[in-house]
Subunit: 333 residues, 2 copies
């Protein structure tokens, strides 16, 4: 089984929940783990939380890169952080994939610097699975590159398609370009050029997708620049929260509606779970030579376990090799 390198000090609940998640992944999934971080602190946290380190490899890293650090700090001031040490361990082949719940920007910079991009890839993109009617869609770039050239968007489409097929098990994923209208000529110059490139790419391109149709599941892969992706992701989150708050308000209106809420309790809980995108595992960084997964910053043990599982599937699916093959094909045309 492939070995997953885990950042012991990434995320709001590190290192306790990371440790627990690693333990769960080993016990429940049979995963091999290389946990990175200050060894003394990791051992102390293990003792405090009662988590056994048996069979878990540790790799010492004296420093921590925080959410407040500038992403480029990973190159200098924080090059001995658990994130940087873990990424170099991945580059050196000490493990097959890397999982971190830490600073997203730093992870993108560090992965590109230490692990490098796959051959031919212009920029790495952050891909996030977002809940929609009937399941979830993959949104990329979800925030790594505010501005994108058309060729970058086309590559995101190819990589996203391979990921959805190989890792998420979606047959012939529908790839859509997020745009302001369905017609081919819509949007700015970037969108118009990306449309033409995606039409020629080896993917099932379904054309432009309007934001109105995204929540209904109009595409399995939604391609856009990182600015737009951030807006889509965060607005989805904010609106779901606001609307659930309003529904809750309805229930609290009177004794009768409170009774009604009781009847609906199970369904509401399920609905909340459906809408919580942290349930869908971590966000893969697409285009890096080896699998790198960004776990949600607020991940608990179960979320870390899920991200580790996702990393294993990513490695064993051979998705990266297939992406390289298809990207080479795209470039050659």
């Amino acid at each position: 089984m492939s070995k997953v390198i885990v950042d012991g000090f990434g995320g709001d609940n590190a290192p306790a929940e990371v440790l627990k998640g690693c333990r769960m992944a080993m016990d429940e999934l049979g995963a091999s783990i290389l946990l990175v971080g200050d060894e003394g602190k990791l051992r102390a946290a293990a003792q405090e939380t009662g988590v056994s380190l048996e069979g878990m490899e540790l790799l010492h890293a004296p420093d921590v890169l925080t959410m407040e650090d500038d992403p480029t700090d990973i190159r200098r001031a924080k090059r001995e952080s658990s994130m940087a040490v873990g990424l170099r361990a991945l580059a050196e082949g000490k493990g097959d994939a890397f999982v971190s719940g830490g600073n997203t920007g730093a992870l993108a910079v560090g992965a590109t610097l230490y692990v490098k991009r796959m051959a031919g890839v212009k920029r790495a993109a952050l891909a996030t699975a977002v809940p929609c009617d009937g399941g979830c869609y993959l949104l990329l770039d979800a925030g790594a590159n505010a501005e994108c050239r058309p060729e970058m968007l086309a590559q995101f489409g190819v990589m996203g398609s391979v990921y959805m097929e190989r890792v998420m098990g979606i047959q012939k994923p529908r790839v859509g370009l997020v745009n302001v209208g369905a017609e081919e000529h819509k949007g700015g110059e970037t969108q118009r050029a990306a449309y033409q490139l995606l039409k020629e790419a080896p993917v099932h391109f379904v054309g432009n997708v309007e934001a109105r149709d995204i929540p209904a599941g109009a595409a399995d892969v939604c391609v856009c620049d990182g600015f737009t992706g951030n807006v889509v992701l965060k607005l989805t989150e904010g609106l779901a929260q606001s609307l659930m708050g309003k529904v809750k308000g309805l229930f609290l209106a009177s004794p009768v509606t409170k009774l009604a809420a009781l009847a609906l309790r199970g369904g509401i809980r399920e609905l909340k779970t459906q809408m919580d995108y942290s349930e869908y595992g971590g966000a893969p960084l697409m285009g890096i030579a080896r699998p790198v997964i960004k776990a949600h910053g607020s991940s608990n043990a179960k979320a870390f376990k899920n991200a580790i599982r996702q990393a294993v599937t990513f490695v064993e699916s051979g998705a990266n090799g297939e992406m390289e093959r298809q990207l080479a094909q795209t470039a050659a045309e």
Copy 2:
């Protein structure tokens, strides 16, 4: 009272619902109306729907610009359409404001061509009131300009602020720049430059607003380019629909939950109304020398009446004069 010029053939339900809306505006609000369109067809529609034309002025226009027409057609092929004739009537002072439920792109092109922009305005922007917790916020540009320069965004902030204060009655509106993070350096070059301009502008600038915080009402005026605005507006619409569908699904699960739905019926209806942005009237085109309002394409008589009321308020508030004054002040700094 000011006179409103109305496009008799704009929108999915024209001319019947337009006619009824004009009648309601005259009878209930005491508005003066100049209705534009094929006179024979308007008279026939009035007879068929039983709407009295008494006191309503008609202005003949032989042609109709449809949703399928290219926006630039308003300059040539469709220059005798009700929209084009109405806009020229506004430019000539035959009325004080123009309302149309027709093709948005054509309205923006036509208003700029025939009515002209206010002094110093770089581009006209479409502004839409979008429901949020505790009321609504003004989103601009909601789709007129896919790409925007920083100075355009700063002007949108000034115009949106004046509109919210003068027309919507919001004291000291909070102006936010839609961005991918709260910090001043976030986003692309355009956002960083716009941030600096908005800081100096005569508005209550609250800095960057992340998409996650928009539905909670983080700002009264949300400034962005038309691509982002379209995504925010349409995603809000699509998500509300998807989530309401899921809530409905909960209610249909069993006889008990169906009973619960009965108890909540009134509240749900109110919630739907709250989330329906067509309830908040039409979308003003900001930066045009005289008030132009885009009514929602699916407007019924009541929505047209509301758009006419909004046009009257826009005229009588003196908002355009105040915008010109503040924009001149911005430019002079």
